[in-house]
């Protein structure tokens, strides 16, 4: 499991992030998130606000973004809640990065279905490109994390890179995707198998075939 302790509280960190504030567009989004909850329950918006803050940090640093302590304090202040409560949330969920990450945060699922379908090969591919778990690569482009189940077992193995999932991967296909990303292009997201749309079986449906073209009443056939 990755180290979830926050980046150390140093004077440099304070200097870089002490003056963090939402930009106008992020502030608008934050206020919209807060407005979803009843009066006096603003704290409920802590998760969207942390996500927005992380995205803004990402834009400022040209990375996926992370949450320095002063930014966590800013969010706590924004919601008028104790900062330890915000830190609890931030350190609990993996979608919040507690340490700086690269431009692309490569999260390889290593849980059983993905492992059985070859996630070890995906990690090998990443490592061959100079990534190592929990670290930012030298070119500042990549951070590799092995994560637990992302809920895409039907299309295992899968990798999540920033906001997109890449599923049904092979080491070769992952290599191509990483090349494209490095070149600044947007690879095809979702399943990587030609002809597949989402998580349906390869080679067409295997059950409920009559339902493909039109609605079909199976009830008469029940035995």
């Amino acid at each position: 499991m990755a180290d979830r302790s926050p980046a150390p509280d140093t004077p440099e960190l304070r200097e870089r992030w002490g003056a963090f504030e939402f930009t106008e567009s992020y502030r608008a989004k934050a206020d919209r998130a807060i407005a979803r909850y009843p009066e006096g329950r603003q704290r409920s918006a802590v998760m969207p606000l942390l996500d927005l803050a992380q995205r803004q940090v990402g834009e400022e640093t040209d990375t996926q973004g992370w949450l320095p302590l002063p930014v966590i304090e800013y969010v706590a202040d924004y919601l008028d809640m104790p900062v330890i409560r915000v830190l609890e949330v931030a350190s609990f969920y993996f979608m919040y990065n507690m340490k700086p990450v690269g431009k692309y945060h490569v999260q390889v699922c290593g849980t059983t279905p993905c492992m059985l379908r070859g996630s070890d090969g995906l990690i090998e591919t990443c490592k061959k490109r100079g990534m190592s778990k929990g670290h930012v690569s030298e070119d500042g482009l990549w951070t590799l994390t092995e994560v637990e189940c992302m809920g895409n077992c039907a299309t295992a193995p899968m990798v999540q890179i920033n906001d997109d999932n890449y599923e049904d991967l092979t080491p070769e296909r992952l290599d191509e995707i990483l090349d494209e990303l490095a070149a600044g292009k947007q690879p095809k997201t979702g399943t990587q198998i030609e002809g597949k749309h989402t998580s349906e079986p390869e080679g067409g449906p295997t059950t409920l075939r009559e339902m493909v073209d039109a609605n079909h009443d199976y009830r008469g056939e029940w035995k």
């Binding site: 499991m1 979830r4 302790s5 509280d9 302590l69 809640m81 104790p82 900062v83 330890i84 409560r85 830190l87 609890e88 350190s91 609990f92």
Partner: protein, 662 residues
């Protein structure tokens, strides 16, 4: 009321009770770690598993399961036994086997419960988890590897103390209990998490490696650090008080204790007056008791003798002094050292009439001139409870950090003469409400507050700060003009019963006899020092600010030549050639009870009805600052305590020092 069956025994339980409470009502012991009566239910330790029918065929956490009609609960089945063994085994996987060097040893829930419900041996051979220590301030020592993640400390600081400081960072096995950036826990009740911690993760820092619980003598006592009169237990070894722990008393302190009451006890063995001293040409010199008594007799006070009671003295001491003065023909007794002169003709008007328990029911509370968090931290807990039940709180006085939403109305007491409409509405609409007047506002706003309370039908409360105050007032330690009357009377001999906050300057011509236990301000000003016993070294009666009479017992003997106060006063009577009418403590007590019968009965004293309020009185003056400048150093014992000094410098003045250094 649901009827349930616990191990074949049918009982009726109150509506809303949990299965755990039902089992307890049936007299069954349910092991638990995270569940605590006064905190919210977390249900995360799983130690309280029981078998419940109807329900899924598996053990269920009884603390989080409501008891419903017709339930069949088993706490003695094989399933329950195995489940408890399993939970215990998992808890112990990451718990170090360091009981021999752990301060919790001997009073550890985990230890006790693993003996009672554990397997007896471990099957775990892999590496154990280790967690770094977390700094939580000068009072709390942490060994976080021992933490079993019950989150009682987190819930206490959020729910009871109202200061969100402690949290659980991370998740799963990596979850760690910490304060934000390991800052010190900065509130007056922080050390209660030590009692709450069921294991040795949070232990007492000043008491670290000092003693084992089984070698301590336990004495029931009363906390004198404020006027709440928290029930405490003094644990002593030999002649030393090692620690103070709260006792459960729902009417007074529930089961909490302020940090000052808990940790000033190390001051009991520091800066003590253990010899008789007399001021000679070159300062205070040790002399014999005889010499000192002769010197006092030589002053021939006659009826020109006065006694000032300090904040920590018990009723017996005050009564002995009063009896001595009476025998001399004087009635110059006063307990309000700082010069307050409020009217005490009706004690109900200077009492906390809501009672602490009743305060929780108030729907509107007006605080006039009291920094409650510092003057009575445990009353602040009650107000916080009331606020959670929907009470509105208004404060007149300088701003302080309440642990609940409160509206500050400014420092001008005259605001009471013309309160904004919404406040009167809040009070008039409330079924029960309370007005609390602090010591600082008694001068300017007592009458007006009384009038407001009677207008609104609110409970009228005066929150005193000194443990001796109500007892002193019951014994008549109050002159009409306060200290000023004593000054005007120009007594030849002035007896100070541990009075350290008074101004000795006007008494330059008097022979100042200090009967007390610590070398503090009073001893510095005194001509003769007669060493006496502190609250831990004598039996005594104390009356808290609600008028609750409580007895404290003697835990240890006073050091050196120090004697119990009443014996000194009794000997002084002989030296002055008068008779006080008692030779033993029992005689003294019965004489005291004969004079003030209420002091003979534990519980709330009856002060009768409140005086008729004069609706035309006006409040005047401003609350510039609260009387307490430093929470940790309010009495001579606390000022002598190294722990309290450390708390004061780190927690109250630490910020200023750090800023100066930058």
């Amino acid at each position: 009321m649901p009827k349930v069956t616990v191990d074949g025994q049918e009982i009726e339980v109150p509506e809303g009770a949990t299965v755990l409470q039902a089992c307890e009502l049936a007299g069954k012991e349910i092991p638990r770690f995270c569940y605590h009566e006064r905190l919210s239910i977390a249900g995360n330790c799983r130690m309280c598993l029981v078998e419940v029918k109807p329900g899924p065929p598996k053990p269920q956490a009884s603390c989080a399961l409501p008891a419903t009609d017709g339930q069949e609960i088993r706490t003695d089945s094989q399933m329950v036994k195995t489940a408890r063994e399993g939970v215990m085994e998992f808890l112990l996987i990451n718990h170090p086997l360091d009981c021999p060097i752990c301060d919790q040893g001997g009073e550890c829930d985990l230890q006790d419960q693993s003996v009672a419900y554990g397997r007896g041996a471990t099957r775990y051979e892999e590496n154990k988890r280790a967690v770094t220590e977390k700094y939580m301030g000068p009072l709390i020592k942490t060994v976080m590897t021992r933490c079993i993640h019950c989150t009682r400390c987190v819930r206490f600081s959020e729910e009871i103390a109202g200061v969100d400081e402690i949290g659980a960072v991370g998740r799963g096995e990596d979850m760690q209990i910490t304060t934000y950036l390991e800052q010190a826990a900065e509130h007056e009740l922080s050390a209660n998490v030590i009692d709450l911690c069921p294991v040795g993760a949070l232990t007492s820092r000043p008491y670290a490696f000092e003693a084992r619980p089984w070698e301590l003598k336990k004495t029931l006592s009363i906390d004198v650090s404020d006027a709440v009169g928290a029930n405490i237990r003094l644990d002593s070894r030999g002649r030393e008080v090692m620690r103070a722990l709260p006792r459960v008393n729902d009417a007074v302190n529930e089961e909490w204790l302020s940090d000052k009451g808990r940790y000033m006890v190390d001051g009991l063995s520091k800066r003590r007056l253990d010899k008789v001293f007399m001021r000679k040409k070159d300062g205070l010199k040790p002399v014999s008791w005889d010499e000192a008594f002769k010197a006092i007799a030589k002053a021939k006070p006659g009826k020109d003798i006065a006694a000032i009671a300090g904040d920590l003295v018990d009723c017996e001491t005050m009564f002995a002094a009063k009896a001595l003065l009476k025998a001399c023909g004087s009635s110059l007794i006063e307990g309000r050292q700082t010069g307050m002169d409020y009217d005490v003709s009706n004690l109900a008007a200077v009492n906390f009439n809501s009672t602490f328990e009743g305060l929780e029911q108030a729907k509107a509370i007006l605080i006039v001139g009291s920094h409650i968090r510092w003057e009575a931290p445990l009353v602040n807990v009650r107000i916080r409870k009331a606020v959670k039940r929907g009470a509105k709180v208004f404060v007149v006085g300088p701003h302080w950090d309440t642990t609940y939403p409160a509206e500050f109305l400014g420092t001008d007491l005259a605001v009471l003469n013309d309160l904004p409409g919404h406040i009167a509405d809040a009070f008039k609409g409330a079924e029960r409400s309370a007005v609390i007047v602090g010591g600082g506002a008694l001068k300017g706003a007592h009458g007006k507050a009384l009038a407001l309370a009677s207008e609104w039908g609110a409970d009228f409360n005066v929150l005193h700060f000194s443990a001796a105050r109500m007892g002193g007032l019951m014994l008549g330690f109050a002159q009409k003009g306060g200290m000023n009357d004593i000054v005007v009377a120009k007594p030849k001999v002035l007896i100070s019963l541990g009075a350290d906050e008074m101004n000795f300057e006007p008494f330059a011509d008097s022979l100042k006899v200090y009967i007390g236990h610590h070398g503090d301000k009073g001893a510095h000003a005194a001509d003769i020092i007669l060493p006496a016993a502190s609250f831990a070294e004598k039996d005594g009666t104390y009356v808290n600010t609600e008028g609750r009479v409580q007895f404290a017992e003697k835990a240890v003997f006073a050091p050196g030549d120090a004697r119990e106060d009443w014996t000194i006063l009794r000997a002084l009577a002989d030296a002055l050639g008068v008779s006080v009418g008692f030779d033993t403590f029992a005689q003294l007590q019965s004489a005291m009870i004969a004079e003030v019968p209420a002091l003979g009965e534990e519980g709330l004293a009856d002060y009768g009805a409140l005086p008729k309020a004069d609706a035309k009185t006006k409040a005047q003056g401003t609350m510039g600052a609260y009387p307490i400048k430093d929470f940790y150093l309010t009495n001579p014992i606390a000022r002598a305590s190294a722990v309290m000094q450390h708390c004061s410098s780190e927690l109250l003045h630490g910020g200023e020092l750090a800023e100066a250094a930058e």
